[in-house]
Symmetry: C2
Subunit: 298 residues, 2 copies
């Protein structure tokens, strides 16, 4: 196990340290413009409105609904229900549940952009659909995804990007993702100690790996907040370490997004830095096979 | 007791019925323009950005903080704490807690506008500060204020207006008020039966007097939603029956507003339509003394 460059949950001490990894890796090539790359580097995200056509989006939505309906009342580990209401909150490993989302996870229009930013081949570390139902949708607390993937899955470095595809409109009423643009350049070492099998509670309501209020205030004072809003079919690429969260949703509009997390094949997980055994395959894949396609990105 | 024109919580039947009262009463005069009056009539609200000067607003904020700090850990009935965190959520009767907010509740710039819209003298039915703290602020569920004031306080007709003064910025991140503009023309008869002393739970998390999802969807399909956003010192006037609510707040920005509820002196409460005894004075005043000033509004 290499030295832990990003220690977290190692006691009662919160701290903010500098990121040592690049946000955009040098040497990639692909469809993103220099302006788009510079924007991602500075802000840790890139929003691509109406990226997929209405017909394509309709197919994604159909499969999303099919998956949800087939899982009603499921007690499978990879199906997370809302605390209190038992409604489906998240379903994992959706790139293996259906043909349409599987194809989407390998779509060159997405993967070429990820490979360009990370300057390497990538594999899928995790995928999921988040359903935030109307009326009762609960918040997702502030977090850096990388903090969990590092501590609980053993991913050593920041060389991962998430792609979120909007399956419904994300608007100001239904709890859109809030991002602190620029926060990806800092790493918040969180307080606490990770229990074994922490994922069983953290996926329903995250409490560990959440920055303390002072750290979050420091980031937001410095970088502010934006909301990722747009029509169904829009795409959000975001860095693994950018600070984000979302409010609850009492509006009648459900908010649903599918996420694919791409990790560089040069950044394979080690033993988790928590000291526990790795999380299950559906949360942190140990199949490091590159997504097909690409080439010429080095 | 007169006939109940707006029955609610009388069984398992939800219904949407027409409002029989005007939104704007004929014959008033005052500082609002014809356009502003027409806007209020149609939309059930009127937003007046930066209505109070920064100096005035600072004085309101100072007293708001003083009140909150003096009530830390209070178990008084008129101090409502957040379920779970015990943080102060609402404080009632603030127009009697301090000189500044008392003067504000009687400020001619507000009250002249209310008298103009209701074409009568008014008294204060209720006042409160809502504190929606950063990080942990909970949602306020959808409701018509009038539904509660009718069922639990015995207010017979819709001739009341609330004035909300922003004590912090209300922005897209901190759970601003959402209003369905036009919904004030319909009355949602809610299901359920009101228990005695219902206010003890409803003020912390409202469950009764909340429209069922189909009724809310019907309103929002028809009228949409807006968010009341603006700087501290902005004023929102809103009809007693307009459907509104707000999401929780995980942002670091607290959201705080002071509310004064003005009722026409020609609309004095009767026995509550729930059949129970009236709620305490701090929720529904039985002092019907007109706010001073005005005249010439008939």
């Amino acid at each position: 196990m290499s030295r832990d460059l990003y220690p977290s949950r190692q006691g009662n001490q919160s701290a903010i340290i500098d990121r040592v990894d690049p946000v955009v890796y040098a040497g990639g090539s692909g469809p993103l413009s220099a302006e788009e790359i510079a924007f991602f580097d500075q802000n840790g995200y890139l929003f691509l409105p109406c990226f997929f056509s209405p017909e394509e989006t309709k197919a994604f939505q159909g499969e999303m609904r099919q998956i949800r309906d087939s899982l009603h009342g499921s007690t499978r580990d990879d199906v997370i229900v809302e605390p209190g209401t038992q409604e489906v909150r998240s379903v994992f490993q959706v790139h293996q549940s259906g043909d349409t989302l599987k194809r989407l996870s390998q779509d060159d229009r997405i993967v070429d952009r990820i490979r360009q930013l990370l300057a390497s081949d990538v594999y899928i570390h995790q995928s999921r659909v988040n359903y935030k139902p109307g009326f009762k949708g609960k918040e997702f607390n502030w977090h850096s995804d990388f903090e969990t993937w590092h501590v609980e899955d053993g991913v050593p470095r920041m060389r991962m990007i998430s792609c979120s595809v909007a399956l419904t409109e994300n608007n100001e009423f239904n709890g859109p993702l809030m991002v602190s643009p620029g926060s990806q350049r800092h790493y918040v070492c969180c307080v606490g100690d990770t229990p074994q099998d922490h994922f069983r509670q953290s996926l329903a309501a995250q409490e560990l790996g959440v920055p303390d209020p002072d750290a979050l205030r420091w980031l937001v004072d410095r970088y502010g907040l934006i909301q990722a809003k747009g029509a169904a079919g829009s795409v959000l690429l975001f860095d693994c370490n950018v600070m984000h969260g979302s409010n609850g949703n009492i509006s009648p509009f459900p908010r649903s997004n599918v996420f694919f997390v791409y990790n560089s094949v040069e950044n394979i997980p080690q033993e988790p830095f928590s000291g526990h055994s790795p999380r299950p395959e559906f949360l942190g894949s140990r199949d490091f096979t590159s997504v097909a396609g690409g080439g010429g990105h080095h």
